[in-house]
Symmetry: C2
Subunit: 218 residues, 2 copies
DNA sequence: AGGTGAGGCTACCCGCCAGTAGGTAAGTGG
DNA sequence: CCACTTACCTACTGGCGGGTAGCCTCACCT
Protein backbone atom coordinates (compact mmCIF):
# COMPACT_ATOMS: atom_id res chain seq x y z
CA UNK A 1 0.00 0.00 0.00
CA UNK A 2 2.49 2.54 1.06
CA UNK A 3 4.82 1.21 -1.59
CA UNK A 4 6.77 3.96 -3.38
CA UNK A 5 5.90 3.49 -7.02
CA UNK A 6 6.72 7.01 -8.20
CA UNK A 7 10.21 8.05 -7.47
CA UNK A 8 10.59 11.82 -7.05
CA UNK A 9 12.12 13.09 -10.29
CA UNK A 10 15.56 11.74 -9.71
CA UNK A 11 17.31 14.35 -7.67
CA UNK A 12 20.90 13.55 -7.04
CA UNK A 13 20.99 12.61 -3.38
CA UNK A 14 23.54 13.20 -0.69
CA UNK A 15 26.29 15.05 -2.46
CA UNK A 16 29.21 16.64 -0.60
CA UNK A 17 28.78 20.20 0.53
CA UNK A 18 31.26 21.77 -1.88
CA UNK A 19 29.39 20.35 -4.87
CA UNK A 20 26.04 21.60 -3.62
CA UNK A 21 27.48 25.04 -3.06
CA UNK A 22 28.68 25.16 -6.63
CA UNK A 23 25.28 24.04 -7.92
CA UNK A 24 23.52 26.64 -5.84
CA UNK A 25 25.83 29.43 -6.94
CA UNK A 26 25.42 28.41 -10.57
CA UNK A 27 21.66 28.44 -10.22
CA UNK A 28 21.73 31.75 -8.40
CA UNK A 29 23.81 33.44 -11.08
CA UNK A 30 21.43 32.12 -13.70
CA UNK A 31 18.28 33.30 -11.93
CA UNK A 32 19.72 36.63 -10.80
CA UNK A 33 20.91 37.37 -14.30
CA UNK A 34 17.48 36.67 -15.71
CA UNK A 35 15.27 38.48 -13.21
CA UNK A 36 17.53 40.78 -11.24
CA UNK A 37 18.11 40.70 -7.53
CA UNK A 38 14.70 41.77 -6.29
CA UNK A 39 12.51 39.80 -8.64
CA UNK A 40 14.50 36.63 -8.21
CA UNK A 41 12.99 34.40 -5.55
CA UNK A 42 14.88 32.01 -3.35
CA UNK A 43 12.27 29.37 -4.18
CA UNK A 44 13.14 29.56 -7.86
CA UNK A 45 16.85 29.45 -7.19
CA UNK A 46 16.42 26.39 -5.03
CA UNK A 47 14.30 24.76 -7.71
CA UNK A 48 16.85 25.44 -10.44
CA UNK A 49 19.63 24.21 -8.18
CA UNK A 50 17.69 21.01 -7.53
CA UNK A 51 17.86 21.57 -3.81
CA UNK A 52 15.49 22.68 -1.10
CA UNK A 53 15.48 26.21 0.18
CA UNK A 54 16.89 25.61 3.67
CA UNK A 55 20.02 24.18 2.08
CA UNK A 56 20.76 27.56 0.58
CA UNK A 57 20.40 29.20 3.93
CA UNK A 58 22.54 26.70 5.80
CA UNK A 59 25.25 26.71 3.15
CA UNK A 60 25.34 30.22 1.74
CA UNK A 61 23.38 32.38 4.17
CA UNK A 62 20.80 35.05 3.39
CA UNK A 63 19.70 36.21 -0.03
CA UNK A 64 22.01 39.17 0.21
CA UNK A 65 24.91 36.93 1.22
CA UNK A 66 24.15 34.67 -1.69
CA UNK A 67 24.12 37.54 -4.14
CA UNK A 68 27.37 38.80 -2.71
CA UNK A 69 29.02 35.45 -3.24
CA UNK A 70 27.76 35.37 -6.82
CA UNK A 71 29.18 38.82 -7.50
CA UNK A 72 32.51 38.01 -5.99
CA UNK A 73 32.86 34.70 -7.76
CA UNK A 74 31.98 36.11 -11.16
CA UNK A 75 34.09 39.20 -10.67
CA UNK A 76 37.07 37.06 -9.82
CA UNK A 77 36.46 34.91 -12.87
CA UNK A 78 36.32 37.96 -15.10
CA UNK A 79 39.45 39.51 -13.67
CA UNK A 80 41.37 36.26 -13.95
CA UNK A 81 40.20 35.77 -17.51
CA UNK A 82 41.40 39.22 -18.49
CA UNK A 83 44.67 39.00 -16.63
CA UNK A 84 45.41 35.63 -18.15
CA UNK A 85 45.36 37.23 -21.58
CA UNK A 86 47.63 40.19 -20.85
CA UNK A 87 51.41 40.20 -20.86
CA UNK A 88 52.70 43.22 -18.95
CA UNK A 89 55.89 43.57 -20.97
CA UNK A 90 54.13 44.39 -24.22
CA UNK A 91 53.59 47.94 -25.46
CA UNK A 92 50.42 49.69 -24.21
CA UNK A 93 48.37 49.21 -27.33
CA UNK A 94 49.05 45.48 -27.44
CA UNK A 95 48.19 45.14 -23.77
CA UNK A 96 44.89 46.87 -24.36
CA UNK A 97 44.24 44.74 -27.40
CA UNK A 98 44.80 41.48 -25.58
CA UNK A 99 42.82 42.63 -22.57
CA UNK A 100 39.88 43.51 -24.76
CA UNK A 101 39.96 40.21 -26.59
CA UNK A 102 39.99 38.29 -23.33
CA UNK A 103 37.17 40.42 -22.07
CA UNK A 104 34.95 39.76 -25.06
CA UNK A 105 35.78 36.09 -25.02
CA UNK A 106 34.70 35.96 -21.42
CA UNK A 107 31.46 37.82 -22.05
CA UNK A 108 30.58 35.51 -24.90
CA UNK A 109 31.26 32.41 -22.87
CA UNK A 110 29.75 33.51 -19.57
CA UNK A 111 26.92 35.77 -20.62
CA UNK A 112 25.13 35.34 -17.34
CA UNK A 113 28.16 36.29 -15.31
CA UNK A 114 28.48 39.46 -17.30
CA UNK A 115 24.82 40.36 -16.98
CA UNK A 116 24.86 39.84 -13.24
CA UNK A 117 27.98 41.93 -12.83
CA UNK A 118 27.12 44.72 -15.19
CA UNK A 119 23.38 45.11 -15.02
CA UNK A 120 22.13 43.62 -11.81
CA UNK A 121 24.83 44.37 -9.29
CA UNK A 122 24.24 48.10 -9.45
CA UNK A 123 20.54 47.74 -8.70
CA UNK A 124 21.17 46.49 -5.19
CA UNK A 125 22.15 49.64 -3.42
CA UNK A 126 24.61 48.62 -0.75
CA UNK A 127 28.05 47.20 -0.46
CA UNK A 128 27.77 45.22 -3.71
CA UNK A 129 27.23 48.22 -5.86
CA UNK A 130 30.21 49.79 -4.13
CA UNK A 131 32.24 46.64 -4.68
CA UNK A 132 31.46 46.41 -8.36
CA UNK A 133 31.98 50.12 -8.81
CA UNK A 134 35.34 49.76 -7.13
CA UNK A 135 36.30 47.02 -9.55
CA UNK A 136 35.16 49.14 -12.44
CA UNK A 137 37.14 52.08 -11.13
CA UNK A 138 40.19 49.86 -10.95
CA UNK A 139 39.68 48.95 -14.58
CA UNK A 140 39.38 52.61 -15.50
CA UNK A 141 42.55 53.46 -13.63
CA UNK A 142 44.37 50.59 -15.26
CA UNK A 143 43.36 51.81 -18.67
CA UNK A 144 44.24 55.36 -17.67
CA UNK A 145 47.71 54.14 -16.75
CA UNK A 146 48.08 52.63 -20.21
CA UNK A 147 46.93 55.84 -21.82
CA UNK A 148 49.20 58.02 -19.77
CA UNK A 149 52.09 55.68 -20.35
CA UNK A 150 51.51 55.91 -24.07
CA UNK A 151 51.28 59.66 -23.73
CA UNK A 152 54.46 60.21 -21.76
CA UNK A 153 56.27 57.76 -23.97
CA UNK A 154 55.63 60.20 -26.75
CA UNK A 155 56.68 63.16 -24.64
CA UNK A 156 53.32 64.44 -23.54
CA UNK A 157 52.95 65.33 -19.89
CA UNK A 158 50.30 66.80 -17.70
CA UNK A 159 47.76 67.24 -20.46
CA UNK A 160 47.40 63.52 -21.06
CA UNK A 161 47.16 62.92 -17.37
CA UNK A 162 44.42 65.43 -16.90
CA UNK A 163 41.95 64.17 -19.45
CA UNK A 164 43.17 60.59 -19.17
CA UNK A 165 40.74 59.56 -16.50
CA UNK A 166 37.73 60.91 -18.30
CA UNK A 167 38.82 59.38 -21.57
CA UNK A 168 39.38 56.06 -19.87
CA UNK A 169 35.94 56.19 -18.33
CA UNK A 170 34.59 56.74 -21.81
CA UNK A 171 36.65 53.88 -23.19
CA UNK A 172 35.57 51.47 -20.50
CA UNK A 173 31.99 52.52 -21.07
CA UNK A 174 32.40 51.96 -24.78
CA UNK A 175 33.80 48.52 -24.14
CA UNK A 176 30.92 47.60 -21.84
CA UNK A 177 28.34 48.95 -24.17
CA UNK A 178 29.83 47.07 -27.07
CA UNK A 179 29.73 43.95 -24.89
CA UNK A 180 26.00 44.41 -24.44
CA UNK A 181 25.60 44.94 -28.14
CA UNK A 182 27.60 41.81 -28.81
CA UNK A 183 25.22 39.77 -26.66
CA UNK A 184 22.67 40.29 -29.39
CA UNK A 185 25.16 39.75 -32.20
CA UNK A 186 26.93 36.53 -31.27
CA UNK A 187 28.20 36.12 -34.81
CA UNK A 188 30.73 38.90 -34.31
CA UNK A 189 33.93 37.45 -32.91
CA UNK A 190 35.90 38.78 -29.98
CA UNK A 191 38.75 39.72 -32.27
CA UNK A 192 36.50 41.86 -34.42
CA UNK A 193 34.95 43.56 -31.41
CA UNK A 194 38.32 44.29 -29.90
CA UNK A 195 39.71 45.66 -33.13
CA UNK A 196 36.70 47.91 -33.62
CA UNK A 197 37.40 49.46 -30.28
CA UNK A 198 41.11 49.69 -30.93
CA UNK A 199 40.50 51.41 -34.21
CA UNK A 200 37.97 53.72 -32.73
CA UNK A 201 39.75 54.65 -29.59
CA UNK A 202 43.40 54.05 -29.93
CA UNK A 203 43.66 55.96 -33.14
CA UNK A 204 41.85 58.77 -31.41
CA UNK A 205 44.33 58.62 -28.58
CA UNK A 206 47.21 58.66 -30.97
CA UNK A 207 45.89 61.67 -32.75
CA UNK A 208 45.48 63.42 -29.45
CA UNK A 209 48.92 62.47 -28.32
CA UNK A 210 50.38 63.80 -31.50
CA UNK A 211 48.64 67.08 -31.03
CA UNK A 212 45.92 66.66 -33.60
CA UNK A 213 42.63 67.90 -32.19
CA UNK A 214 39.10 68.30 -33.31
CA UNK A 215 37.59 71.75 -32.83
CA UNK A 216 34.11 73.02 -33.50
CA UNK A 217 34.11 75.02 -36.68
CA UNK A 218 31.69 77.75 -35.65
CA UNK B 1 -8.42 70.06 25.80
CA UNK B 2 -8.88 68.84 22.29
CA UNK B 3 -7.50 72.12 21.09
CA UNK B 4 -5.23 71.76 18.09
CA UNK B 5 -1.97 73.29 19.22
CA UNK B 6 0.25 71.46 16.75
CA UNK B 7 -0.76 72.03 13.21
CA UNK B 8 0.09 69.10 10.97
CA UNK B 9 3.31 70.19 9.22
CA UNK B 10 1.65 72.59 6.83
CA UNK B 11 0.73 70.53 3.82
CA UNK B 12 -0.56 72.59 0.98
CA UNK B 13 -4.24 71.76 0.88
CA UNK B 14 -6.66 71.40 -1.97
CA UNK B 15 -4.58 71.96 -5.04
CA UNK B 16 -5.80 71.27 -8.59
CA UNK B 17 -5.20 67.84 -9.99
CA UNK B 18 -2.59 68.82 -12.55
CA UNK B 19 -0.39 70.34 -9.88
CA UNK B 20 -0.64 67.28 -7.67
CA UNK B 21 0.25 65.04 -10.59
CA UNK B 22 3.37 67.07 -11.21
CA UNK B 23 4.34 66.89 -7.55
CA UNK B 24 3.80 63.17 -7.46
CA UNK B 25 5.81 62.57 -10.62
CA UNK B 26 8.63 64.75 -9.32
CA UNK B 27 8.69 62.84 -6.05
CA UNK B 28 8.52 59.51 -7.87
CA UNK B 29 11.46 60.34 -10.11
CA UNK B 30 13.44 61.40 -7.08
CA UNK B 31 12.69 58.27 -5.06
CA UNK B 32 13.02 55.88 -7.99
CA UNK B 33 16.36 57.38 -8.93
CA UNK B 34 17.63 56.95 -5.41
CA UNK B 35 16.42 53.43 -4.60
CA UNK B 36 15.48 51.83 -7.88
CA UNK B 37 12.06 50.55 -8.84
CA UNK B 38 11.72 47.63 -6.48
CA UNK B 39 13.18 49.16 -3.35
CA UNK B 40 11.20 52.35 -3.72
CA UNK B 41 7.99 52.19 -1.74
CA UNK B 42 4.78 53.93 -2.61
CA UNK B 43 4.60 55.11 0.98
CA UNK B 44 7.85 56.97 0.63
CA UNK B 45 6.89 58.48 -2.67
CA UNK B 46 3.64 59.72 -1.20
CA UNK B 47 5.50 61.16 1.76
CA UNK B 48 8.00 62.99 -0.42
CA UNK B 49 5.20 64.26 -2.60
CA UNK B 50 3.37 65.57 0.46
CA UNK B 51 0.28 63.59 -0.44
CA UNK B 52 -1.42 60.45 0.81
CA UNK B 53 -0.99 57.15 -0.97
CA UNK B 54 -4.50 56.78 -2.41
CA UNK B 55 -4.03 60.02 -4.31
CA UNK B 56 -1.27 58.43 -6.28
CA UNK B 57 -3.48 55.52 -7.18
CA UNK B 58 -6.45 57.65 -8.17
CA UNK B 59 -4.35 60.05 -10.22
CA UNK B 60 -1.55 57.97 -11.70
CA UNK B 61 -2.56 54.34 -11.26
CA UNK B 62 -0.44 51.42 -10.09
CA UNK B 63 3.22 51.51 -9.19
CA UNK B 64 4.08 50.19 -12.62
CA UNK B 65 1.93 52.83 -14.29
CA UNK B 66 3.60 55.48 -12.21
CA UNK B 67 7.05 54.30 -13.17
CA UNK B 68 6.04 54.23 -16.80
CA UNK B 69 4.88 57.81 -16.67
CA UNK B 70 8.16 58.84 -15.05
CA UNK B 71 10.15 57.10 -17.76
CA UNK B 72 8.13 58.63 -20.54
CA UNK B 73 8.20 62.12 -19.12
CA UNK B 74 11.94 62.10 -18.53
CA UNK B 75 12.68 60.45 -21.86
CA UNK B 76 10.66 63.11 -23.62
CA UNK B 77 12.51 65.82 -21.74
CA UNK B 78 15.85 64.34 -22.69
CA UNK B 79 14.97 63.95 -26.35
CA UNK B 80 13.60 67.47 -26.56
CA UNK B 81 16.68 68.87 -24.87
CA UNK B 82 18.96 67.14 -27.34
CA UNK B 83 16.88 67.98 -30.39
CA UNK B 84 16.70 71.61 -29.35
CA UNK B 85 20.48 71.80 -29.61
CA UNK B 86 20.90 70.21 -33.02
CA UNK B 87 20.59 71.88 -36.39
CA UNK B 88 20.11 69.28 -39.12
CA UNK B 89 21.77 71.32 -41.85
CA UNK B 90 25.18 71.27 -40.24
CA UNK B 91 27.90 68.79 -41.17
CA UNK B 92 27.87 65.46 -39.30
CA UNK B 93 30.61 66.26 -36.84
CA UNK B 94 29.00 69.53 -35.81
CA UNK B 95 25.66 67.82 -35.34
CA UNK B 96 27.26 65.26 -33.09
CA UNK B 97 29.09 67.95 -31.21
CA UNK B 98 25.96 69.97 -30.51
CA UNK B 99 23.97 66.90 -29.61
CA UNK B 100 26.60 65.82 -27.12
CA UNK B 101 26.77 69.22 -25.50
CA UNK B 102 23.01 69.33 -25.08
CA UNK B 103 23.08 65.84 -23.68
CA UNK B 104 25.67 66.65 -21.04
CA UNK B 105 23.93 69.87 -20.16
CA UNK B 106 20.75 67.91 -19.59
CA UNK B 107 22.45 65.28 -17.46
CA UNK B 108 24.06 67.93 -15.29
CA UNK B 109 20.80 69.75 -14.78
CA UNK B 110 18.49 66.77 -14.34
CA UNK B 111 20.69 64.18 -12.69
CA UNK B 112 17.76 62.25 -11.33
CA UNK B 113 16.09 62.03 -14.70
CA UNK B 114 19.23 60.57 -16.15
CA UNK B 115 19.70 58.07 -13.36
CA UNK B 116 16.13 56.84 -13.66
CA UNK B 117 16.38 56.48 -17.40
CA UNK B 118 19.80 54.94 -17.59
CA UNK B 119 20.18 52.84 -14.48
CA UNK B 120 16.78 52.04 -13.13
CA UNK B 121 14.62 51.60 -16.18
CA UNK B 122 16.47 48.51 -17.31
CA UNK B 123 15.99 46.77 -13.98
CA UNK B 124 12.24 46.49 -14.45
CA UNK B 125 11.95 43.71 -16.93
CA UNK B 126 8.91 44.47 -19.02
CA UNK B 127 7.67 47.02 -21.46
CA UNK B 128 9.70 49.85 -19.89
CA UNK B 129 13.02 48.21 -20.46
CA UNK B 130 11.89 47.62 -24.02
CA UNK B 131 10.79 51.21 -24.34
CA UNK B 132 14.04 52.63 -23.04
CA UNK B 133 16.05 50.18 -25.09
CA UNK B 134 14.09 51.25 -28.13
CA UNK B 135 14.93 54.88 -27.46
CA UNK B 136 18.54 53.96 -26.98
CA UNK B 137 18.51 51.98 -30.20
CA UNK B 138 17.09 55.01 -31.97
CA UNK B 139 19.97 57.06 -30.64
CA UNK B 140 22.44 54.47 -31.85
CA UNK B 141 20.87 54.40 -35.28
CA UNK B 142 20.87 58.15 -35.43
CA UNK B 143 24.55 58.23 -34.65
CA UNK B 144 25.14 55.42 -37.09
CA UNK B 145 23.46 57.53 -39.77
CA UNK B 146 25.84 60.38 -39.01
CA UNK B 147 28.80 58.05 -39.18
CA UNK B 148 27.75 56.44 -42.41
CA UNK B 149 26.95 59.82 -43.91
CA UNK B 150 30.44 61.00 -43.01
CA UNK B 151 31.81 57.79 -44.47
CA UNK B 152 30.03 57.91 -47.78
CA UNK B 153 30.72 61.61 -48.04
CA UNK B 154 34.35 60.61 -48.17
CA UNK B 155 33.72 57.85 -50.67
CA UNK B 156 33.58 54.86 -48.38
CA UNK B 157 30.76 52.43 -48.88
CA UNK B 158 29.73 49.13 -47.45
CA UNK B 159 32.60 48.87 -45.01
CA UNK B 160 31.51 51.88 -43.02
CA UNK B 161 27.97 50.64 -43.03
CA UNK B 162 28.93 47.26 -41.72
CA UNK B 163 30.84 48.26 -38.67
CA UNK B 164 28.88 51.47 -38.24
CA UNK B 165 26.27 50.01 -35.95
CA UNK B 166 28.75 48.42 -33.60
CA UNK B 167 30.88 51.53 -33.52
CA UNK B 168 27.85 53.64 -32.81
CA UNK B 169 26.86 51.33 -29.97
CA UNK B 170 30.33 51.82 -28.58
CA UNK B 171 30.11 55.57 -29.02
CA UNK B 172 26.72 55.83 -27.33
CA UNK B 173 28.04 53.66 -24.53
CA UNK B 174 31.06 55.87 -24.18
CA UNK B 175 28.83 58.92 -24.02
CA UNK B 176 26.65 57.35 -21.34
CA UNK B 177 29.57 56.16 -19.34
CA UNK B 178 31.18 59.56 -19.48
CA UNK B 179 27.88 61.00 -18.30
CA UNK B 180 28.01 58.77 -15.24
CA UNK B 181 31.59 59.79 -14.67
CA UNK B 182 30.63 63.43 -14.98
CA UNK B 183 28.03 63.02 -12.23
CA UNK B 184 30.94 62.66 -9.84
CA UNK B 185 32.97 65.43 -11.45
CA UNK B 186 30.55 68.33 -11.75
CA UNK B 187 33.40 70.76 -12.24
CA UNK B 188 33.95 69.50 -15.78
CA UNK B 189 31.75 71.48 -18.16
CA UNK B 190 29.54 70.02 -20.85
CA UNK B 191 31.73 71.58 -23.51
CA UNK B 192 34.80 69.83 -22.20
CA UNK B 193 33.02 66.48 -21.94
CA UNK B 194 31.68 66.77 -25.45
CA UNK B 195 35.04 67.73 -26.88
CA UNK B 196 36.76 64.82 -25.15
CA UNK B 197 34.40 62.47 -26.86
CA UNK B 198 34.72 64.21 -30.18
CA UNK B 199 38.47 64.03 -29.99
CA UNK B 200 38.42 60.43 -28.93
CA UNK B 201 35.86 59.15 -31.30
CA UNK B 202 35.55 61.39 -34.24
CA UNK B 203 39.25 61.43 -34.91
CA UNK B 204 39.12 57.65 -34.75
CA UNK B 205 36.31 57.64 -37.26
CA UNK B 206 38.18 59.93 -39.54
CA UNK B 207 41.25 57.75 -39.47
CA UNK B 208 39.11 54.75 -40.27
CA UNK B 209 37.35 56.52 -43.04
CA UNK B 210 40.64 57.53 -44.53
CA UNK B 211 41.83 53.98 -44.47
CA UNK B 212 44.20 54.22 -41.57
CA UNK B 213 43.80 51.21 -39.32
CA UNK B 214 45.34 49.82 -36.20
CA UNK B 215 46.58 46.26 -36.41
CA UNK B 216 48.09 44.01 -33.79
CA UNK B 217 51.83 43.84 -34.24
CA UNK B 218 52.35 40.18 -33.40
C1' DA C 1 -28.91 77.50 2.98
C1' DG C 2 -27.80 73.22 1.44
C1' DG C 3 -26.55 70.20 -2.32
C1' DT C 4 -22.83 68.37 -5.09
C1' DG C 5 -18.60 66.84 -6.54
C1' DA C 6 -13.76 67.03 -6.48
C1' DG C 7 -9.72 66.93 -3.33
C1' DG C 8 -7.95 64.30 0.31
C1' DC C 9 -7.37 61.16 4.23
C1' DT C 10 -7.07 57.09 7.77
C1' DA C 11 -7.09 52.57 8.35
C1' DC C 12 -7.26 48.44 6.74
C1' DC C 13 -6.61 43.93 3.65
C1' DC C 14 -3.94 40.30 1.74
C1' DG C 15 -0.48 38.00 -1.15
C1' DC C 16 4.10 37.10 -1.69
C1' DC C 17 8.40 35.67 -0.16
C1' DA C 18 12.57 35.75 2.89
C1' DG C 19 13.68 33.14 6.52
C1' DT C 20 13.03 29.00 10.18
C1' DA C 21 11.56 25.08 13.16
C1' DG C 22 11.80 20.66 13.57
C1' DG C 23 12.07 16.36 11.64
C1' DT C 24 13.88 12.13 8.49
C1' DA C 25 17.11 9.44 6.05
C1' DA C 26 21.70 8.06 4.93
C1' DG C 27 26.34 7.34 5.82
C1' DT C 28 30.49 6.46 9.60
C1' DG C 29 32.80 4.75 13.69
C1' DG C 30 32.68 1.61 17.31
C1' DC D 1 23.56 -2.70 15.83
C1' DC D 2 23.74 1.52 18.13
C1' DA D 3 25.35 6.25 18.69
C1' DC D 4 26.38 10.42 16.26
C1' DT D 5 27.00 13.35 12.33
C1' DT D 6 25.86 15.18 8.05
C1' DA D 7 22.79 15.89 4.16
C1' DC D 8 18.35 17.15 3.27
C1' DC D 9 13.28 17.95 3.44
C1' DT D 10 8.21 19.59 4.38
C1' DA D 11 5.68 22.86 6.22
C1' DC D 12 5.19 26.77 8.49
C1' DT D 13 5.55 32.12 10.12
C1' DG D 14 5.98 37.01 10.00
C1' DG D 15 6.25 41.24 7.91
C1' DC D 16 6.64 44.26 4.28
C1' DG D 17 4.35 46.82 0.99
C1' DG D 18 1.09 47.24 -3.03
C1' DG D 19 -3.46 48.24 -3.33
C1' DT D 20 -8.39 49.67 -1.60
C1' DA D 21 -12.91 50.73 1.00
C1' DG D 22 -15.07 54.09 2.90
C1' DC D 23 -15.32 58.58 4.98
C1' DC D 24 -14.40 63.52 5.55
C1' DT D 25 -14.32 68.50 3.97
C1' DC D 26 -13.79 72.40 1.53
C1' DA D 27 -15.28 75.42 -2.50
C1' DC D 28 -18.51 76.76 -5.38
C1' DC D 29 -23.23 77.09 -7.40
C1' DT D 30 -27.92 78.15 -7.16
Amino acid sequence: MSEEVQRPPERARRLPRAVRERQILDAAVQVFSRYGYHSASMDEISEVAGVSKPMIYTYLGSKEDLFGQCIRREATRLLEAVQAGVQPDLPPDMQLWHGLRSFYRFVAEYRESWVVLHRQALTVGGSFAAEVTAMRTRAIELVAALVVSAGTRKGLGEQAEFSGEGLSAALVGAAESLADWALEHPEVSDGVLASWLMNLVWLGFNDLIEGQVWKPSD
